[in-house]
C-alpha cells in the first residue's frame, strides 16, 4: 500500500472505566472502500466515533493525510475532510430537508458556498429536489439515509465514515445506498463502511477488516475475506447472510 490516507496505531478507547478498543491498528488506502465487519458490540461504531472526534482516544495515534489528528475536535476533523454518518438516524426530524443540508455545511463560514453546494446536491439527488421543503422526519427510513449521505457530501469530504447505512432497510433501499456508496467512491472519496450484512459489505469493498474484541483480527481484500473460511464461519453463517 502506498502512503495510507488514514492510519490508526494502537488506538485504545472506551466509555467509562472499560476499554472497548484495545490497541487497534488499521490503515485505509486512499480512494478505496474498506468494510469493517465484526460481531455486535465488537466496537465498530466506537472506531468511527474516535475518527470523527466524538470520542477521544486514550492511547495511540490517528494519522490522516500525514498529520496527527488524534486530539482534534469534531469541527476540526470536518475541516480536514472527515465526515461521519452515524448508525442512528441523524437527520433533524423537525427541520426541512433543505435546512438539514444547510446544517451539513455548518462549519463553512462562506454562506454563498454553502448555498452553492446545497444547490448542487439538490441537482444531483432527485429526492432532495422533490422533498426539499418537507420535514425530514416525514421521509421513509431509506430516504432519510440517502439524505444523510447527501448531507455528508456538503463538505466534499476526503473520507466518509458510514455506520451500518443499510440497517433496517428493505432490499430496494439497500441497493440504492450501496449504489451511492459506489458512486461516492468513484468520485475519489475514501469510504470506511461498517456493515452488519458482512457479505454485501465485503462484496462492494476493496478491502475488509474484521474486528474482534477491540482489535483488528484479520484484514485482506474484500473478496479474499469473503472466501476465508474463518470469516465465513464467524460472520457469514446464519444471521449475517440473512
Amino acid at each position: 500500500m502506498a502512503e495510507p490516507l488514514l492510519q490508526l496505531d494502537g488506538v485504545v478507547a472506551g466509555y467509562g472505566r472499560g476499554d472497548i478498543l484495545r490497541g487497534l491498528d488499521l490503515a485505509l488506502e486512499d480512494g478505496t472502500v474498506t468494510c469493517l465487519v465484526g460481531p455486535n458490540g465488537a466496537g465498530k461504531s466506537t472506531v468511527l466515533k474516535v475518527l470523527s472526534g466524538l470520542l477521544s482516544a486514550r492511547q495511540g495515534r490517528v494519522v490522516f493525510a500525514g498529520d496527527d489528528v488524534t486530539r482534534l475536535s469534531p469541527a476540526q476533523l470536518l475541516g480536514r475532510g472527515i465526515v461521519h454518518v452515524a448508525q442512528d438516524r441523524s437527520l433533524f426530524p423537525l427541520m426541512t430537508v433543505w435546512d438539514n443540508l444547510l446544517m451539513g455545511g455548518h462549519v463553512l463560514s462562506d454562506r454563498a458556498l454553502v448555498r452553492r453546494r446545497a444547490d448542487a446536491i439538490a441537482e444531483r439527488f432527485e429526492l432532495v429536489r422533490e422533498r426539499r421543503d418537507e420535514r425530514a422526519g416525514e421521509l421513509s427510513g431509506g430516504q432519510q439515509k440517502l439524505v444523510e449521505i447527501a448531507r455528508a457530501l456538503m463538505l466534499e469530504p476526503k473520507l466518509i465514515l458510514l455506520d451500518e447505512p443499510t440497517m433496517g432497510l428493505d432490499p430496494k433501499a439497500r441497493h440504492l445506498i450501496f449504489e451511492l456508496v459506489g458512486e461516492v467512491n468513484e468520485e475519489g472519496r475514501t469510504v470506511l463502511l461498517v456493515e452488519q450484512n458482512a457479505r454485501a459489505g465485503l462484496a462492494i469493498a476493496h478491502h475488509g477488516a474484521v474486528l474482534d474484541t477491540g482489535r483488528v483480527a484479520l484484514t485482506g481484500r474484500g473478496s479474499e475475506l469473503l472466501e476465508d473460511p474463518r470469516v465465513a464461519e464467524l460472520y457469514l453463517g446464519g444471521a449475517a447472510a440473512a
Binding site: 470523527s52 466524538l54 469534531p74 469541527a75 470536518l78 475541516g79 465526515v83 461521519h84 452515524a86 442512528d88 441523524s90 437527520l91 433533524f92 426530524p93 423537525l94 427541520m95 435546512d99 444547510l102 446544517m103 451539513g104 455548518h106 462549519v107 454562506r111 448531507r151
Partner: protein, 291 residues
C-alpha cells in the same frame, strides 16, 4: 359581558409578559434539559435593577430594558459557564435543579440585604394613565409591557428560525449528537442559549416592577407560575409556553372578576391539572425533543 371582555383584555396583556419570562425557561430546558428554577429570581433581580436605575438615575423603566437585558445576558453566560456547564454525568439534570435553586436563594438573599424586604414599585409619571379603547379600559403601562414582550418574542422566534445560530440551536435540540458530528459546538450553543433565556427574564423583569409591587421573596410565586406555564405548554415548546401563558392570564383575570380574586391563581392550577390528565405532555409538547 362587558366585564368579562374587560377581564380577558387584562389577562392577555399580563399573559404576554409571563410568556416572555416562560420562553426563556422552556428554551433552556429544550436545549440542555436544565430547569432553571432561578428564572423567577432573575426576573425579580431585573425588576430591582430597573427600579434602581429609575430611582437613582431617573431612567425610564421601559428604556432600562435596553440596559438591564444585555447586562443580564452577560450574567446568564457567566452563570452557565461557572455553575451549569460543569455538571456532567447521569444526574446532571437533577443537579441542575439544585444548583439553579441555590442561585435563586442566593439572589433573594443579596436583594434582601441591599433592598430589605419592603415591597417596592417602579412608578413613572404615567403609571396610572389609562386609555379607553372601544369603551374598554387599558392601562397604558400594561399595554406597553405587552407590546414590548410580543416584540421580543418575535425577535426570539426569528433568531431561532432565520439565522445560522438559530438553526444550530434547533439542531442541538432535535439531535445533539448529530449536531456535534456536523461541527456544532454544543458548549457554545448551550452557553449563549442560557444567556438568551436569562435575557428574556431580564426584559420581562425590567417592566414587571411597573405592573406589580415586588420584594425579594416574590420569586417563589413567580417560579411556580412559570413552571406551570411551561408544563402546560409542553416542556421545550416555545409556542406552547406563549399559549399557556395567555391561558393563565385570561383564566385568572376572568375568575377574579366573575367569581372571587382569592380563587384566581388557584383556578389556573385546575386548568393545568385537567389538561395534564388529558395530555400528559402538555398542549404543544411532543414526547420527543422539539423546538
Amino acid at each position: 359581558m362587558h366585564q368579562v371582555i374587560q377581564a380577558v383584555i387584562l389577562g392577555l396583556l399580563i399573559g404576554g409578559v409571563y410568556a416572555l419570562m416562560a420562553s426563556g425557561l422552556t428554551l433552556v430546558f429544550g436545549i440542555m434539559r436544565v430547569i432553571n428554577v432561578a428564572q423567577g429570581a432573575l426576573v425579580i433581580l431585573a425588576a430591582y435593577l430597573s427600579y434602581a436605575l429609575f430611582s437613582h438615575a431617573h431612567v425610564d423603566p421601559f428604556l432600562s430594558v435596553l440596559i438591564v437585558t444585555p447586562a443580564m445576558f452577560v450574567l446568564g453566560v457567566l452563570v452557565q459557564i461557572v455553575f451549569v456547564r460543569s455538571l456532567r454525568g447521569d444526574d446532571a439534570e437533577e443537579l441542575s435543579l439544585l444548583v439553579t435553586w441555590a442561585l435563586a436563594l442566593g439572589i433573594e438573599g443579596v436583594l434582601s440585604v441591599i433592598f430589605k424586604t419592603t415591597y417596592r414599585a417602579t412608578s413613572p409619571s404615567y403609571a396610572d394613565k389609562t386609555l379607553t379603547v372601544f369603551g374598554y379600559q387599558v392601562q397604558f403601562v400594561r399595554l406597553m409591557a405587552f407590546v414590548g414582550s410580543a416584540a421580543l418574542l418575535l425577535v426570539l422566534s426569528l433568531l431561532l428560525t432565520r439565522t445560522k445560530f438559530g438553526r444550530a440551536v434547533r439542531a442541538t435540540v432535535q439531535n445533539p449528537t448529530a449536531a456535534t458530528l456536523l461541527g456544532v459546538d454544543a458548549n457554545r450553543v448551550q452557553t449563549l442559549s442560557f444567556g438568551l433565556g436569562v435575557s428574556m427574564a431580564a426584559a420581562a423583569g425590567a417592566v414587571y416592577g411597573v405592573i406589580y409591587p415586588f420584594n425579594p421573596g416574590s420569586h417563589y410565586d413567580l417560579i411556580s407560575r412559570l413552571l406551570s406555564i411551561v408544563v402546560l405548554g409542553g416542556l421545550g415548546s416555545l409556542g406552547g409556553a406563549v399559549v399557556a401563558a395567555l391561558v393563565m392570564g385570561v383564566t385568572e383575570a376572568v375568575v377574579a372578576v366573575e367569581w372571587q380574586p382569592t380563587w384566581a391563581s388557584f383556578s389556573y392550577f385546575i386548568v393545568l391539572i385537567v389538561v395534564l390528565l388529558i395530555r400528559p405532555q402538555g398542549i404543544f409538547g411532543v414526547r420527543e425533543r422539539a423546538l
